[in-house]
């Protein structure tokens, strides 16, 4: 006993003994005096407890004692403690991880000064679809628009860096001079681009990232002003960007150089008028997006003589202005929001389970509370005790949750689809963790207190009856909630799973099996200057590859399906009614064997042939089936004349080939046209090599590479992959969302199963007496089985009904992620309902079995 306790005891005993002595002195006999003194004093234990209470409010050290006591109670029930803490950990951990991952994308501003003023400006294509800009449009907007402080355009650039160390292919961007000004970034060392240098044949200057500077140049400040070799040309390093600069427009980029297009726009058909540039602009202070949109609309509608427009860039459909942030996250937003929804459901399920566990625990401790109240413990005292226990439990769960969150974040990053923006910014988010922690702890504490609140009533019999009623109601609500939430999550996961199955059964239009692909680039222009020299290199390389044993056939193409390439040109047909009709189509400059290597079927006419490669009289082109149907629904496309790209003699359609998925399996058939590599306007570089092999395509990688290098060992070969890998990578985002959903649904089912079991078995335990009485009165085992089973399944059915309504509403958020099935797909719904009913039945079975074995005599004895 503590010093305080012994003193308290001594003080109160002194009082009673003194009173007894006085009563004896005034004539009572000893026993009577003792009795009277006790009665006068009132409840001794109550007085003690009240004194302790007074003291506890004073000593924060008492919290420690409560905590020790709480830990002892928790240790006495290791199963309960472990399950509750793990449930909390799963809920807190998963939600923290997911919110941490989506936070930089969905909620945080981009890491630039006044980032909300940075806009993307797209060219309005057919039907208002955003398509890339032309340099000509950029020139016009730059001069005529006043809504923007600065406007810039950019395109990807992948130079090869050579020098003392081994050659390396870098990711970079060609940009107009104001690029960094639009983003609001200035180099940490050296200078920004000089607008005067951004002209045709201007000086070659480069700005490099901090990581490239550290990696390749050992962080030597003297590199500024020196020259480096890129693609065999000397570039002067103008500046080094600050550390931590995040280039959301091209996260991999490490080096930037000027675009240096011809500002005089020499030909209306030159590269200056190609739709291949992305445009961004920084709004002037005080000007809004709407104002900028109005102004650009006005400019688009009113051409001026100083800025003659090319027929393929008339701005006929206007311009599309969006905040950069929206543009960056648009592609991933639906998936992220869906995942956020899933994790909220998971957190809700975890809360339901912990509530259930605490409720069961409270019921078991009813006796303990009743005893303590009889001994004079006050309500506040019990509540504080339970609160301490709940907080302890939550702390344990929270600590584990932090661990779970860290693991989840790591797994998320490892699983994330390529191109997920701002992936480097994903860190455990403290406010979110605190939020998830607080919400589960609060719910847990509130529920844990129900028995104490009810038990604190003076009338113990009433109290215990009331607790039972509260428990019953809460329990039933929990079963229903548990089933409903699990159903919603499982239906969502099921829909995604079936979408992915459908997606993979979509024919991509080519045969991806046993096809190896890689990009071959000519980096050393000094030795291979000129288109002829380039064609010769590619021809020789192709010959060398064909000689590799096991290679069936090999071909080059300027763009590869599902590789992320998206190279389109506007086409004009001779029979177009409106000369400004612009049929945008994917351009493939290919060598004749491409169709054989990819097994793209010929539907009409003929394929490209070797003799077409040098044909000078006309340029034969192939178009795809979708294009032919769209443009020539009734006529024969063969022999029709068409022109893609700049003004030049008409090309002739010689054949129609099958449709191929270029951007993604989920996107419908786009227009496409094919020309021979050496008949396009320029020699494409790099080209994709497509190799059809016998056996495992991946195993040919090094042999094929050696074959290319046997022609010229200085040319980089990059992005080696099999076509199968590209196909599955193209569905990466869907698969990512699906894996997350499957994981959540699995955890949810697990929690639901244990939760259901807990709730139902608890229910039976509380009804043991009733069951005993029933069987004593002659109810058969089958009747009792039916009674308990029916109750469990009724609750499950109610949960399913509510869950169905919830799922029907919730799956609206999934619509953009689904492919080939309705969000109300009956098979998914039926499957999930069957699964949940099965789990429920299994969870019912054990308690039902136990219920049926209740021996009436045991029940009676227990009374």
């Amino acid at each position: 006993m503590s010093r305080y306790e012994s003193r308290l005891e001594k003080e109160l005993r002194f009082h009673i003994e003194q009173r007894t002595a006085d009563l004896i002195a005034s004539g009572h006999d000893a026993a009577e005096a003792k009795r009277l003194a006790r009665i006068e004093f009132g409840g001794l234990e109550q007085a003690k407890e009240q004194c302790r209470d007074v003291r506890r409010t004073r000593w924060p050290g008492d919290l420690w004692r409560d905590a020790l006591y709480g830990m002892r109670t928790l240790r006495q029930k290791p199963g309960f403690t472990l399950v509750s803490a793990l449930t909390l950990a799963l809920g807190i951990g998963a939600s923290t991880a997911i919110f941490s991952a989506v936070n930089p994308l969905l909620f945080e501003p981009l890491p630039y000064s006044k980032a909300s003023r940075i806009m993307t400006i797209w060219y309005g294509g057919a039907g208002g679809a955003p398509i890339p800009q032309t340099f000509g449009t950029f020139r016009e907007l730059q001069s005529r628009s006043h809504s923007f402080e600065a406007i810039a355009v950019m395109k990807p650039w992948q130079p090869s860096l050579t020098g003392r160390a081994e050659p390396e292919r870098l990711d970079g961007q060609r940009v107009s001079a104001a690029y960094f000004r639009v983003l609001g970034v200035t180099p940490a060392l050296g200078r920004d681009f000089d607008p005067a240098d951004d002209r045709l044949n201007g000086p070659d200057v480069a700005v490099i990232s901090d990581t490239l500077w550290k990696r390749r140049f050992a962080g030597d400040p003297a590199i500024v002003g020196r020259e480096i070799t890129l693609d065999d040309s000397l570039y002067q390093v103008a500046g080094i960007l600050p550390r931590g600069f995040e280039n959301v427009l091209a996260p991999e980029a490490e080096i930037w150089s000027l675009l240096q297009y011809d500002a005089s726009l020499p030909s209306p058909e030159g590269r200056e008028w190609g739709h291949h540039l992305r445009m961004i602009g920084r709004l002037r202070a005080g000007g809004g997006v709407d104002q900028a949109r109005r102004e650009l609309d006005q400019i688009a509608r009113t051409p001026v003589p100083e800025f003659a427009r090319s027929p393929i860039a008339t701005m006929g459909q206007g311009l599309i202005v969006n905040p950069l942030r929206e543009d960056v996250v648009r592609a991933v937003k639906p998936a992220l929001l869906a995942v956020v929804g899933a994790v909220i459901l998971l957190l809700a399920i975890a809360c339901v389970n912990v509530t259930n566990l605490l409720l069961a625990r409270g019921a078991q401790r009813r006796g303990e509370f009743a005893m303590r109240i009889a001994l004079g413990a006050r309500r506040g005292r019990l509540i504080r005790q339970l609160l301490t226990e709940s907080v302890l439990l939550s702390l344990g769960g929270g600590a584990l949750g932090l661990l779970v969150a860290r693991i989840c974040v790591r797994v998320l990053i490892a699983l994330s689809p390529p191109g997920l923006p701002r992936i480097g910014e994903i860190v455990i988010n403290a406010p979110v963790f605190a939020f998830a922690f607080a919400i589960s702890a609060c719910i847990g504490s509130a529920v844990g207190m129900i028995p104490a609140l009810a038990a604190a009533n003076n009338d113990l019999y009433q109290a215990s009856r009331r607790v039972t009623a509260v428990h019953r109601r809460t329990r039933r609500a929990l079963v229903v909630a548990e089933v409903a939430l699990s159903l919603m999550l499982s239906v969502s996961a099921g829909l995604l799973l079936r979408s992915l199955q459908r997606l993979f059964s979509v024919a991509p239009g080519f045969d991806s099996s046993q096809v190896l692909t890689m990009q071959v680039q000519i980096a050393t222009f000094s030795r291979l200057r000129g288109a002829d020299a380039q064609h010769r290199f590619f021809d020789q390389a192709l010959d060398a590859v064909r000689r590799v044993p096991g290679v069936v056939t090999a071909a080059f193409t300027s763009q590869l399906p599902l590789s992320g390439d998206s190279d389109s040109y506007g086409g004009h047909f001779e029979n177009d009614n409106d000369p400004h009709d612009d049929h945008l189509a994917f351009r493939y400059a290919v060598t004749p064997d491409y169709f054989k290597a990819m097994r793209i079927p010929l539907l009409r006419g003929r394929l490209l042939e070797q003799r077409d490669m040098l044909s000078a009289e006309f340029r034969p082109v192939l178009i795809n089936e979708a294009f032919a149907k769209r443009k020539f629904p009734t006529q024969n496309p063969i022999g029709q004349r068409v022109r893609f790209g700049p003004e030049r003699p008409w090309d002739v359609i010689v054949g129609v080939v099958g449709d191929v998925k270029q951007v993604s399996l989920a996107i419908g058939e786009s227009n496409a046209f094919y020309v021979a590599t050496d008949q396009w306007l320029w020699a494409d570089n790099p080209l994709w090599l497509v190799v059809k092999t016998r056996g495992d395509a991946a195993s040919f990688a090094s042999a094929v590479r050696s074959a290319i290098w046997s022609v010229d060992k200085d040319q980089p070969v990059v992005r080696v992959s099999t076509m199968d890998a590209l196909v599955s990578a193209s569905a990466a985002q869907r698969r990512f969302a699906m894996i997350l959903f499957e994981a959540f649904a699995l955890i949810a089912l697990l929690l639901a199963a244990t939760g259901l079991y807990g709730v139902l078995s608890g229910n039976v335990a509380e009804r043991t007496r009733e069951i005993g009485v029933r069987s004593a009165l002659g109810a058969s085992r089958a009747e009792i089985l039916a009674l308990v089973f029916r109750e469990g399944m009724t609750l499950t059915a109610l949960g399913i009904a509510i869950g169905l309504a919830g799922a029907a509403a919730a799956t609206q958020a999934l619509v953009s992620m689904l492919f080939g099935i309705s969000r109300l797909d009956p098979i998914t719904y039926l499957g999930v309902i069957a699964l949940l009913a099965l789990i429920s039945a299994a969870a019912c079975w054990t308690p039902v079995w136990r219920a049926a074995r209740v021996d009436p005599s045991i029940t009676l004895r227990a009374e």
């Binding site: 003193r7 002194f14 009082h15 007085a47």
Partner: protein, 112 residues
């Protein structure tokens, strides 16, 4: 004696402090004196005296020492601290004002 006291809120503390102000005294003596002095009008369940004493001790208005009584037994003697004395004076003054005001109101003659 176990019936609930009808003492207004806070008056028990005031009475205790007044009794303790007369000199160091133990709990039992306080209970006795409360009864004697108030001519048995003020009846406090004796058990509830102790939480009140401990509360006052907590608030620093009373201090306590263990000392021997006249009969040689060890008991906890309470005494008023300086803060307790100030508090007692303030509360006595406000109690006096309150009772005076109430007295005036109760003595109002009904207007004819």
């Amino acid at each position: 004696m176990t019936s609930k006291s009808d003492l207004p809120q806070g008056t028990l503390d005031l009475l205790i402090m007044k009794i303790v102000a007369l000199g160091p005294v133990h709990g039992y003596a306080i209970a006795q004196r409360l009864q004697q002095v108030s001519r048995e009008v003020v009846q406090v369940p004796q058990g509830s005296l102790y939480p009140a004493l401990h509360r006052l001790e907590n608030r620093g208005l009373l201090a306590a020492d263990w000392k021997e009584t006249d009969t040689g037994r060890e008991a906890k003697f309470y005494r008023l601290t300086r803060r307790g004395r100030a508090q007692l004076e303030a509360e006595t003054a406000s109690w006096a004002r309150l009772t005076e005001a109430i007295g005036v109101i109760l003595n109002l003659r009904e207007a004819k």
